[in-house]
């Protein structure tokens, strides 16, 4: 099983990751060998086994419907790479 450059590029798009040409090459190589290694999972019989998605088996954890003051806009926006007034600014979104 080879994980091709094209497949790497497709997954990178999905993950919004820019990869250089050399990164695509090495990623294709490395992912191929990692995925081959991961293939061993397919041989395990898991018929009827309930998936375990959580680290702890608890349920029904809630908070009361109470509001508390959040961050003032200046603190909320303090880490923003770009702001315009009290908004986060991003390159134009084309709809």
């Amino acid at each position: 099983m080879t994980f091709t450059r094209e497949q790497v590029a497709k997954v990178a798009d999905l993950a919004r990751l820019h990869l250089s040409e050399t990164e695509i090459d090495s990623m294709s190589r490395q992912l191929t060998s990692i995925l081959e290694f991961f293939d061993q999972l397919q041989a395990i019989d898991t018929t009827g086994v309930e998936p375990m998605a959580h680290g702890v088996a608890i349920e029904n954890v809630f908070r009361d419907d109470e509001k508390h003051p959040g961050l003032p806009p200046d603190e909320a926006l303090a880490n923003a790479p770009k702001r315009a007034g009290d908004f986060f600014a991003v390159p134009p979104i084309l709809d």
Binding site: H18, Q30, I34
Partner: protein, 490 residues
């Protein structure tokens, strides 16, 4: 014995008796950092003045007769992955180089309430992804036992600074062994608590269903002390457990008269370094001599723990790290064509290779058409793994094995071979997948003087049992009293 050589518990006693001030203690560790950290390179952020101001505050409270906490006046180093209000939290990543959190993590609050003196931020693999600390975007931390070698990871800075006597205690995090493996490689004690024992609120997530925060120290009692300070319920973390926190520091010193130790036979096969195997087998004999019953147990699914872990962890990571996109905080690329390109370049520039690799793996594992074969399958194997442990704990109180298949490897030795690096987590990842506690403690040295770690794993919420079993062993040996020579040229 100089201040920096003393245990945290000894320091607390001296502070309580007014034999010494927190300023003196803090200054001694700051001096040490200033003397050796250029070689160890554990600290990413360190502010002597701030630490001393905090020490003075604790001294003042104490002399004014005010209530002081469990850790009052004792310095603690923090892995650079816990948010603290107004302070940098880089996670070892360029992505968060200039990020300052607007809030405190639960564990930071707990440490502050306990009167700890936060000494600074220590190095880690970027976003806790790695087993050598070489994936930090900022510096490569050295192993204090041999400066040409890695301290392990991802909590490499936390382990190295304690081993190098730069801090008596440190906070690490463990997603697949990130506390235990560096503790093993640096010859110290590290505990990964039961999932839910310590609140993750304010811990920058790598893999949410696996991440836990835990203590790192030079002795079991010190680790117990730090755990006591940080454990407990937090309503801000839905996965935090409500169980009361035992007085670990006291209770860990009571031996277990009828301890049953399960030896995981699956761990003693191919890939385990001979010197490590010998040291761990000697540890089994120590337990036998202490009156413990030794039984062989099997964890058959653990043979598949590595692929299971890397599917689950990377899937969650690909999701957790989606938020770093250059919009609300973090790195934004200077040049881009449009919004999508801005996302891609910001992430491409902000993340290092290993992080990108894991995002790719995780995205793949969750993508349409592949999710059943990878992610869902791994979750089923995860359940089988947990079942293995449940069966094993029918026969024994703790399971015993090596923490890491080898002692510390050389810087650069595995950095071009991700799969080889992944395999260094072979004995630790299953603990996280099962949500159980695991303790690593020193159990010997290789001929070349590198520490070897012993791992004890227990049932959920059995931290006390692990600490008591660890303390018994520690009392019978003196591995933990050895001090790293800071030898070798890094």
């Amino acid at each position: 014995m100089s201040i920096i050589e003393k245990s945290a518990c000894e320091l607390i006693e001296m502070l309580g008796n007014r034999e010494i001030s927190s300023r003196e203690v803090t200054a001694a560790f700051c001096d040490r950092i200033e003397a050796v950290d250029s070689r160890v390179r554990a600290f990413l952020h360190y502010d002597r003045d701030q630490a001393l101001r905090r020490a003075d505050e604790i001294d003042h409270r104490r002399s004014a007769g005010q209530e002081v906490g469990l850790l009052a006046g004792v310095p603690v180093a923090i892995k650079d992955i816990l948010c603290a209000r107004g302070e940098p939290t880089t996670c070892g990543s360029k992505m968060l180089e200039h990020f300052k959190a607007p809030y405190d993590a639960h564990v930071i609050e707990r440490l502050d309430r306990a009167g700890a003196v936060r000494l600074g931020r220590v190095n880690m693999d970027e976003f806790a992804m790695g087993s050598s600390c070489e994936n930090s975007a900022y510096q490569k931390t050295a192993n204090p036992w041999d400066l040409r070698r890695v301290p392990g990871g991802s909590s490499g800075g936390s382990a190295a600074c304690v081993a190098a006597l730069e801090a008596p205690l440190s906070i690490g995090t463990d997603t697949g062994g990130s506390i235990r493996q560096p503790a093993s490689l640096c010859g110290i004690v590290g505990l990964k608590p039961t999932y839910g024992r310590v609140s993750r609120f304010g811990l920058v997530a790598y893999a949410s269903s696996l991440d836990q925060i835990g203590p790192m120290a030079r002795s079991v009692v010190d680790a117990a002390l730090l755990l006591e300070a940080i454990a407990g319920h937090d309503p801000r973390d839905s996965t935090s457990l409500p169980h009361p926190v035992p007085p670990y520091r006291q209770s860990c010193q009571q031996p277990l008269p009828k301890l049953r130790v399960g030896v995981v036979t699956d761990y003693f096969g191919e890939g385990l370094d001979e010197e490590v195997a010998v040291a761990v087998k000697k540890a089994i004999e120590v337990y036998r001599s202490l009156g413990a019953t030794i039984v062989d147990v099997r964890l058959p699914t653990s043979a598949h723990a590595i692929p299971t872990y890397y599917v689950v962890a990377t899937a969650e990571a690909s999701s957790n790290l989606a938020r770093y996109d250059g919009v609300h905080y973090g790195h934004r690329a200077k040049e881009y064509r449009d919004l999508v390109d801005m996302y891609k370049r910001s992430r491409g520039e902000g993340f290092g290779h290993e992080v990108k690799r894991r995002i790719m793996l995780g995205t793949l594992a969750l993508s349409a058409g592949r999710r059943d074969a990878f992610y869902n399958k791994a979750l089923q194997v995860r359940r089988l793994l947990r079942g293995d442990y449940d069966a094993a704990f029918q026969q024994c109180d703790v399971v015993l094995g090596p923490t890491s298949p080898t002692a510390a490897f050389k810087l650069g030795e595995k950095s071009d071979d991700p799969l080889a690096m992944y395999l260094s987590d072979i004995y630790t990842v299953a603990t996280n997948l099962a949500g159980l506690p695991g303790l690593s403690l020193p159990c010997g040295f290789t001929k070349s003087g590198l520490p070897i770690g012993l791992q004890l794993q227990g049932p959920a919420m059995a931290e006390e049992t692990l600490l008591r079993a660890g303390y018994m062993y520690e009392q019978a040996t003196d591995w933990h009293r050895q001090t790293a020579p800071l030898a070798g040229t890094s």
